[in-house]
């Protein structure tokens, strides 16, 4: 490729590396730039001024700033899966192969048909959403919204999965310094010299802040050279972490900060193993915010035309990037920044046609400099309008006497003063305070451990910033316990920073933009005020001023100052909107980190997971667990066939189910029994050693919390189980009871869910099977080890195990537990030894079918609204003791006999399918909400009965046995007649349990 022109590149200026030429494209056109450029500086170097179209009116827009406050120069960066919309060209570091496109234009940037929006702009004024599209309501979704989305809006997000990885990281320090301008560098250096652990963060790829952008002398050296020497010294301290390309986007409580490091945003594709971005949580004992100040524009007519640029940005492009932002400039200011700017423009060989200042008397030095360089001076004057349609061709100046004249130029450098960056320092609620003499908001009350230093605090002179930074760095280090080393502050001058507040040129003839990103004009602010939106927060919401990707960094203060003028209040009384994190946009990828796809959440695997996988199990996610749902055999093509086979095998022979996911907790101590009496509704202290008992826990409000079993292995040693879903909740509850309710009891609680692999072995041949693996002399006979017996024993030749004679299936059944690492072996052994009985493994589906057949309640019934009585377990509650939930469970509302209770259902026509969630309605009642009598909680096809069965919550259930009801399920067109039956369908007497 031929070397492109870079016609606007200055020969002898800039901190770019001219030995490294980089190629990039903008809207498909190739250009060249240099290492050290931003996309914006490289575009300007190539004479590209028009970079986008505005949000609402599709007006041509250029580059206003040189930083993250940019409202206009938003581009789509990269393509395909990496396409990233609304990227600010002003902070996008140029890399070889960079690909950028303008956004929000149709069909092309220079010819935008939707610019006609500008002609219908009376309809798009403040609040237009609320007014224009109110009626008819049905039009909103189908017509208005798609139309607005087509016409308005910014870039397009990628449609594909993000191919890059994102990382999360933590950092800890004594002193966090945010911003690396003169104040930040001095703060970091001073703190580092004491030996403190320091983190220095800057959003740019280069440290130095304004010292890179302005021609200044520090300690006798050129500013940029001084920066290099400080950075070199900082690098020499082992306790210093330098973090360029990192934005602190939010301050959080107790000295925590969120930051995004753009690890690989400056390369086309991240290297292998390198994340694109890294989300940091920084924990700092002390923090110094030194983010500087952002220049604000003055609101005048056509102030959004490409070629209107902040004066400080003009200097940045000249001094840091070696780029001419224009050929002929008019400088418009209300403060001494204008004088600095004409000096740099002249120094770079750019013609300055005029200095227009709203102040009536300028410094003599400024005037003589202007005279010397042929610059016309307009005191007490304004630039009322920019002239030109797609770029600036002149400025209409209204002089102090009211006369108006046009001056040709292609650059209007504007300065309305500086807004200290108070966002991060006010994130925790300290309100920014207006300082009239600075014409700026400065930080309010600061959170503990935070200091603000330099121009972020309204201290605008260089010498003062250096000094203040050094003091802040030392104070923070000392407060962190380090010895002050006495900070040597390098010599520098304070530049003049006189200002006279000025916001809005009222003599403008054209649209004057307050918020360029949201296309909010001066007229919109006035309209909002007329319509009664007179608080800043209302103004913001009604006009959208200050929203979107720049969060109003160049517009908020102007907007509220104009509101103050309109309402006749002071700015202090008008106040500012609250800044909230993030300071600049944070990508969702960075927030998600590695938690996406299969790593969205952790997966818990049971000890015999690999065996189940080999066996071809179908798994289901339950909470964090992956559980075997059913084990299809070759030839079984639908799950119901498999599940029926598994159930039948258990009911007729023997099956084995992995129940390792149950919550398991050891409760030890001399008061363990007493403790369990207080947390279960039934009595546990009377449980004999070697026995187990079903138990239920309530919440203190009387609602059922969880159920499970308690087994007693010794006087002072119980073992309880919880449901899989509630394991963590129950542990937390038990710890609350132990530590807070009854701290004097001798109870120790150990969560041991992961210690044991546990299997249910169920069916008439269960004992025959287990007899083959228990070690002698354990007697597994029914007489020696009856229903609800428990024992510690060894199996498979010396493996420690626990055996529980419990049944969830209703069959003669056992649960056997072995240390987790033996689980796989136990499962394989059971399968091998059970072969002669035709053993089958069964999953959660068959487990569920059998529990419904037996009327055992589970998650759908233990749903946070049911009491023990609702679940048919009211009689379990002991009346001889207190327990958690007892008192409130006796409230009238919870003991009302008409409350829905669990009962069984079967279809009148046995061939019909039942559906969970169907509502019960009287047989001849209409299907309306007033007739609702309860709903079906659980259903299953019962292979034992050959038809569907269900459990449900039904009002007045006990007295309605045999009644026929409608089970109405409008979502799936279900309307089935069902009969109310007892909740137990199989082995009603429970005889099989005890054989």
């Amino acid at each position: 490729m031929t070397q492109s022109a870079q016609t606007a590149r200055l020969k002898d200026r800039g901190l770019i590396d001219r030995s490294q030429s980089l190629t990039f494209t903008f809207d498909g056109v190739p250009y060249n730039g240099y290492a050290g450029d931003t996309l914006a500086s490289a575009l300007l170097a190539n004479g590209v001024r028009l970079v986008g179209r505005s949000f609402k009116y599709h007006r041509p827009r250029g580059i206003l700033t040189s930083g993250s406050e940019e409202p206009n120069a938003l581009v789509e960066l990269r393509s395909g899966a990496r396409r990233e919309p609304n990227t600010k060209a002003t902070i996008t570091e140029l890399y070889d192969g960079l690909e950028a496109k303008s956004q929000n234009r149709f069909p092309s940037l220079s010819l935008d048909l939707l610019a006609i929006n500008g002609l219908v702009s009376p309809f798009l004024s403040a609040g237009f959403y609320y007014k224009t599209f109110m009626w008819p309501a049905s039009f909103w979704e189908k017509i208005y919204e798609p139309m607005i989305r087509r016409a308005a809006g910014l870039g397009r997000a990628a449609q594909e999965h993000d191919p890059d990885s994102y990382d999360k990281a933590f950092a800890f320090c004594d002193v966090l310094v945010v911003g690396s301008g003169p104040a930040g560098l001095m703060a970091a250096l001073t703190a580092a010299r004491t030996g403190a652990r320091v983190i220095l963060v800057d959003e740019s790829f280069a440290f130095g802040g304004r010292l890179l952008s302005d021609v200044r002398t520090v300690g006798g050296a050129n500013g940029a050279d001084w920066v290099n020497s400080v950075v070199a010294e900082l690098k020499s301290f082992p306790g210093v972490q330098l973090m360029p390309r990192t934005t602190v986007f939010g301050a959080y409580d107790s000295g925590q900060f969120g930051a995004v490091e753009r690890v690989a945003d400056h390369v086309p594709v991240p290297a292998a193993g390198v994340p694109r971005q890294r989300l940091w949580r920084i924990v700092a004992k002390h923090t110094i915010i030194a983010q500087g100040a952002l220049e604000r524009p003055i609101v005048f007519g056509n102030n959004d035309r490409p070629g209107v640029m902040l004066a400080s940005a003009v200097r940045t492009y000249i001094n840091r990037f070696g780029v001419k932002p224009g050929e002929t400039a008019v400088v418009f200011s209300n403060n001494d920044d204008g004088a600095s700017t004409i000096a740099d423009l002249v120094g770079a060989g750019i013609r300055v046609a005029a200095l227009v200042d709203t102040r009536t008397v300028l410094q003599p030095a400024t005037k003589s400099f202007a005279r010397k360089h042929g610059i016309r001076i307009f005191e007490g004057a304004v630039v009322a309008d920019a002239i030109g349609s797609s770029r600036v061709t002149g400025a209409r100046i209204v002089a102090a006497d009211g006369t108006s004249q046009n001056i040709a130029c292609d650059l209007i450098a504007v300065s309305g003063g500086f807004n200290p960056s108070v966002q991060v320092s006010t994130h925790l609620g300290g309100r920014a305070q207006w300082q009239q003499e600075l014409a700026a908001f400065v930080p309010g009350a600061l959170p503990k451990g935070m200091a603000v230093s330099g121009s972020a605090k309204g201290t605008f002179g260089l010498a003062s910033c250096l000094k203040e930074g050094a003091q802040a760095g030392e104070a923070a280090a000392v407060a962190s316990g380090f010895q002050a080393k006495g900070a040597a502050v390098p010599a520098a001058d304070d530049e003049p920073s006189d200002i006279s507040a000025f916001w809005h040129v009222k003599t403008a003839k054209h649209k004057a933009f307050v918020d360029q990103q949201n296309d909010v004009t001066a007229a919109d602010v006035a309209l909002a005020e007329r319509e009664g939106f007179r608080s800043v927060e209302h103004l913001k919401r009604y006009t959208t001023l200050g929203m979107a990707t720049d969060q109003g960094k160049t517009s908020n203060v102007n907007g509220l100052a104009m509101l103050a003028q309109l309402t006749g209040k002071t700015i202090a009384a008008t106040g500012a909107t609250s800044a909230r994190p993030p300071y600049t946009p944070v990508s969702l990828g960075a927030l998600a980190g590695e938690h996406r796809g299969k790593h969205f959440k952790a997966t818990r695997l049971t000890p015999s997971h690999d065996w189940a996988k080999e066996r071809g199990a179908v798994f289901i996610e339950t909470g964090m667990w992956l559980r075997a749902q059913y084990y299809p055999k070759p030839g079984e093509n639908d799950w119901l066939t498999t599940v029926c086979r598994e159930v039948n095998t258990v009911r007729n022979s023997v099956g084995v189910c992995d129940v390792s996911t149950l919550g398991k907790i050891e409760i030890h101590g001399t008061d363990a029994g007493k403790f369990l009496d207080r947390v279960y509704i039934n009595m546990m202290s009377t449980l004999g050693v070697g026995k187990a008992r079903y138990g239920m826990m309530l919440r203190e409000d009387g609602i059922a919390m969880d159920d499970g079993t308690a087994a007693r292995f010794a006087d002072d040693r119980y073992f309880i189980t919880t449901t899989t879903a509630n394991a963590i909740k129950v542990l937390q509850h038990l710890e609350l009871c132990r530590q807070w309710y009854w701290p004097d009891l001798d109870v120790q609680i150990f969560p041991v869910s992961d210690q044991w692999a546990q299997y249910s072995v169920a069916g008439p041949r269960a004992r025959d099977l287990l007899a083959k693996i228990v070690d002698a002399p354990f007697d597994i006979s029914n007489a020696a080890f009856p229903y609800m017996a428990v024992a510690e024993l060894t199996v498979m030749g010396g493996v420690k195990a626990r055996l529980y004679r419990l049944s969830f299936s209703g069959e003669m059944a056992y649960e056997i537990a072995v240390p987790a690492r033996q689980g796989d072996r136990l499962m394989r052994t059971l399968m091998a030894k059970g072969e002669e009985f035709g053993i089958a493994p069964y999953g959660t589906e068959a487990l569920g079918v059998m529990r419904i057949e037996k009327g055992h309640v589970a998650g759908p019934e233990l749903n946070g609204t049911t009491t023990a009585a609702d679940l048919g377990l009211g009689k379990m509650a002991s009346t001889k003791k207190d327990f958690v939930g007892r008192v409130l469970s006796q409230r009238p509302g919870l003991t009302d006999p008409t409350r829905p209770r669990v009962v069984g259902f079967r279809p009148v026509d046995r061939s019909q399918r039942l559906r969970g969630g169907a509502h019960f309605i009287g047989k001849s009642d209409a299907a309306v909400a007033q007739n609702d009598q309860g709903y079906m909680t659980s259903v299953a096809y019962s292979p034992s009965l050959g038809h569907w069965i269900g459990l449900g919550l039904l009002a007045n259930a006990e007295s309605r046995m045999g009644e026929i009801l409608r089970a109405y399920d409008p979502v799936r067109n279900g309307d089935v007649l069902v009969e109310v039956v007892p909740a137990t369908f199989v082995d009603v007497e429970g005889a099989r349990l005890r054989v």
Binding site: K601, A602, R604, L605, T670, Q748, Q755, R821
Partner: protein, 178 residues
């Protein structure tokens, strides 16, 4: 079953290993027995039970603080010895004692000083001066609970995570040790 051996080819070739050769016993002081338990522990191990998040070494046994009045006793597996039963007998009446050998998978990263990646990997400040040899932290990593300790001799970091999470945790750790 080894989480690493089954799922990585280089389980033992790197500085990340899974410790499969230890027994872990959890002891918790009975109410009011803290002082007498400590006396007995000193007689048994020659060291006090740490009352802050510390791990102490006692003749091949590592005693790791595991919460208020709770410790993990980590001992090398020996054929023919039942460490849990011995400890249960020793501390009978003064502590509740359970075998938790299988509850957690213990990974070890042999680093004398934390690598930069390890340093930024968790909500624990791993800086050499902040997390010293013998320090213990009970915390979590991406919602996975973990007890981490730095060996008293400073040669390695051990991470004990719930066994059923240990494949995911192992994945995380391989990244974090880089």
């Amino acid at each position: 079953m080894s989480e690493l051996a089954n799922h990585t080819k280089t389980a033992r070739a790197s500085d990340l290993i899974e410790r499969n050769d230890v027994t872990v016993t959890n002891i918790a002081a009975r109410r009011g027995a803290r002082a007498s338990l400590d006396e007995l522990a000193r007689a048994t191990f020659g060291v006090s039970l740490p009352s802050t998040p510390k791990a102490v070494e006692a003749g091949g046994t590592l005693i790791v603080w595991a919460g208020p009045d709770q410790w993990l006793i980590i001992q090398k597996e020996e054929t023919g010895r039942d460490h849990y039963s011995e400890l249960a007998k020793t501390f009978n009446g003064l502590a509740s004692v359970i075998d938790v050998t299988e509850s957690r998978t213990i990974f070890r990263i042999s680093q004398a000083r934390p690598s930069p990646v390890l340093s930024r990997s968790m909500g624990i400040d791993f800086h050499d001066a902040a997390f010293k040899p013998g320090d213990v932290a009970i915390t979590h990593v991406s919602h996975l609970g973990v007890i981490v300790w730095r060996l008293p001799d400073g040669t390695a970091y051990d991470f004990a995570c719930a066994r059923t999470y240990s494949r995911d945790f192992g994945d995380w750790l391989r990244k974090a040790k880089a």
